[in-house]
């Protein structure tokens, strides 16, 4: 399903050769022309497969650890290791769109990674969240 919220704006990043195929999930455009993923598409990977988790771990180390810390131990970005309440859909949507909370920001990764790679990242972050050494929230 494709939901078009607004068509204003001049540049749709997904249309200029940067983006992945987002058509399988729920998505739309906002006022500045950016495409937004509203819900996750159907998973293309087995989220519990150790190979998938390792692949996600490599991407995480190259791109995410800079803010979320080594193995998700937290930094300027929130701690992911042992984190409760991260649903699969929330992870996919947040990684795709990025997020700004107060002074913290995460860029949208949908312009850099295919849905398959985002799913690998989701699998890795889920594996981090399942670890038990998180501090009390």
């Amino acid at each position: 399903m494709r939901i078009v919220v607004a068509l204003s704006g001049t540049v749709c990043l997904a249309l200029i050769g940067l983006g992945a195929d987002l058509a399988r999930g729920s998505e739309g455009q906002i006022g500045n022309g950016s495409t937004v993923v509203f819900t996750a598409p159907k998973s293309t990977v087995n989220l519990n497969d150790p190979k998938v988790i390792r692949a996600g771990g490599r991407i995480f180390a190259q791109t995410c650890a800079y803010c979320h810390g080594y193995q998700g131990t937290g930094g300027r970005g929130p701690r992911l290791k042992g984190r409760k309440g991260l649903t699969t859909d929330y992870l996919y949507v947040t990684i795709s769109n990025g997020r700004v909370i107060g002074a913290q920001s995460m860029p949208p990764w949908k312009y850099s990674f295919s849905p398959h790679k985002i799913w690998e990242l989701v699998a890795y972050v889920r594996s981090l969240a399942a670890k038990h050494n998180a501090p009390s929230q």
Partner: protein, 565 residues
């Protein structure tokens, strides 16, 4: 290199008439005034350039606030920028009672420097693609000159804003974010006479480093200088096409020799060797440029064959020493190069840190790296000291001509890196080209990770005093003719120290950590100290595994100004 008073006043951008009463100068008044007149803005009331003066000192000749009365400082006003994303990295500028600064997301303000009242607010209409950049939100500086406030934007432009009205006068698109992995101007180009000179982010991505020269009056692009060379001896194969080497920091312009100094960043990929055996010119180099043409007058490559992310972009100091003008330049890698400013001849190389392992030593007479760690094995963990944030962050220290000491935030942290082949085609607009499977900031072997502020002899590294911090200082340092050193820490505590002894004289919690500049200025004979408060940026995230306390720190973005009454 000696400047006459008249030359200095004529050439200093926006320099005003010397109007300040000498009553604002302290005991070393004559010497301080002479030093001030030799270098940088002639008006001690103003802080019109990034480092106040072109020599990079971050030294205010004002002394109304001094070591005897600093304990009476209180807040005069606070200005909240509203947008706080990624914190406040910039240095406020003040000219003739008006403060100018850039907040997150390219929000530029002109404020009444006495009251904090907003005179105007400008934000460019940024192209939507800026949000895809890894380096979105953050700006180190604006540049003043020719009646303009210049802004390097987060969508690859340089914009000239009327200093008086806050309206855009011209805008020049210099980069295409679709083609340069989201490269943006995190620093506004420096002003070198009539030429704006600067570069962008992208050094950690598969880009080709580019420095731009732009006509400061019209916005017309004058020249480009590529910082990687299509030279198989230096960059085998096509490695030069993806070799990074961006000049992402501010730079300094010496009007006496008409020379623009700008440092070049690391070679990419940062840690994977990528068959780029060679010196990889001009990565990790300091360049001295002719502003009109971009011609390289001289250069010094500090790290040939860099694969540790050791940028050479930090702002140098220029100090008259034994009758010569010397450049003192810290590299990320924890060494300081002392060079003849007129030709780059090496005078000394000294280490900021006692312990490091990326090289065994550096010959202080030749600069030759001895025992350089090479070809980090792919797929295997290698400990590298110092780590990629550096022995210092990019934030400048400060030099005081009265004490002849250089005050510098320093840290001792290592990293475990597992290099891995990374194909540029797999690197998207937002992603990084570090060439790693794993990268973690760790404490050095046998000792805790730590940070400190220290007072150094800039030519030898001899330490006069040192103050430890639980989390390393990541802000710019201020020193004044009032015998003060003022430094902010990541927790938001602003500290004033005696410049001679390091004794703490005053402190105040501004509520969010210091990641940008601290300056001093005067209006109508009254001195102020302004602090850019607002923790953020990218570095603290990577530091957190070595300094877990970072996780709890709050962001923000505000200018907090202090005075005596």
């Amino acid at each position: 290199m000696n400047l006459t008073k008249s030359t200095r006043i004529r050439r200093a951008p926006l320099a005003g008439v010397i109007s300040l009463s000498l009553s604002l100068f302290g005991g070393g008044a004559v010497q301080a005034q002479q030093n001030m007149l030799r270098v940088g803005s002639a008006n001690p009331d103003n802080w019109s350039q990034y480092n106040r003066t072109w020599n990079g000192w971050r030294y205010s000749p004002l002394s109304q606030i001094n070591s005897k009365n600093v304990k009476h400082l209180h807040v005069a006003w606070i200005q909240q920028s509203g947008d706080v994303t990624n914190g406040l990295l910039s240095t406020p500028l003040v000219v003739n009672g008006v403060m100018y600064y850039v907040a997150p997301d390219n929000n530029v303000f002109a404020l009444n420097a006495v009251t904090g009242a907003v005179i105007w607010h400008y934000q460019p209409n940024l192209a939507a693609i800026h949000a895809a950049s890894f380096y979105d939100h953050q700006s180190r500086n604006i540049t003043l000159g020719h009646g303009f406030v210049y802004l390097g934007t987060l969508d690859g432009r340089v914009v000239a804003i009327s200093q008086k009205t806050g309206k855009r006068v011209w805008s020049t698109q210099l980069t295409d974010l679709k083609k340069c992995y989201g490269c943006v101007f995190s620093s506004t180009p420096m002003l070198a006479g009539d030429v704006l000179i600067g570069g962008t982010t992208g050094g950690d991505q598969p880009t080709r480093g580019t420095i731009f020269g732009v006509n400061a009056l019209t916005g017309k692009l004058m020249w480009k200088l590529y910082t990687t060379k299509a030279d198989p001896a230096s960059w085998p194969g096509n490695t030069w096409m993806v070799g990074g080497s961006q000049a992402w920091n501010v730079g300094e312009y010496d009007p006496t020799t008409n020379t623009a100094y700008i440092g070049v960043g690391n070679a990419a990929p940062d840690f994977y060797w990528n068959n780029r055996q060679g010196n990889n010119l001009y990565s990790a180099s300091m360049l001295a440029l002719d502003p009109q043409t971009g011609h390289i007058k001289w250069y010094r490559q500090e790290v040939p064959g860099d694969h540790y992310d050791f940028d050479s972009v930090y702002d140098p100091l220029f100090i008259n020493h034994d009758g010569r003008l010397e450049m003192v330049h810290e590299n990320k890698n924890g060494f300081v190069w002392v060079m003849d400013a007129s030709g780059g001849k090496l005078r000394n190389v000294w280490p900021v840190l006692h312990d490091y392992n990326w090289v065994k030593s550096i010959n202080p007479k030749t600069g030759q790296l001895i025992g350089q760690m090479r070809n980090l094995p792919a797929g295997k963990k290698t400990l590298i000291c110092p780590y990629l944030i550096g022995a210092s962050s990019w934030n400048p220290g400060a030099y005081n001509p009265q004490t002849r000491l250089w005050y510098l935030n320093t840290m001792d942290v290592c990293e475990n890196a597992v290099p891995q082949l990374q194909h540029p085609k797999d690197v998207g607009i937002t992603a990084l080209y570090l060439g790693v499977a794993s990268l973690e900031a760790v404490h050095p072997p046998g000792r805790p990770a730590k940070g400190w502020l220290e007072a150094l002899d800039p030519f030898t590294g001899k330490v006069s005093w040192k103050v430890d911090y639980p989390i390393p200082g990541l802000g710019d340092v201020l020193t004044t003719a009032g015998g003060l050193v003022i430094n902010g820490d990541p927790e938001g505590i602003v500290h004033a120290y005696d410049a001679k002894t390091g004794h703490q004289l005053w402190h105040f919690n501004v509520g969010s950590g210091i990641r940008g500049g601290i300056i001093s200025y005067a209006v109508n004979g009254k001195q102020y100290i302004a602090v850019a408060s607002g923790f953020g940026s990218l570095a603290p995230g990577f530091m957190a595994s070595a300094f877990p306390g970072i996780e709890k720190l709050q962001g923000g973005s505000a200018v907090v100004v202090f005075s005596l009454d």
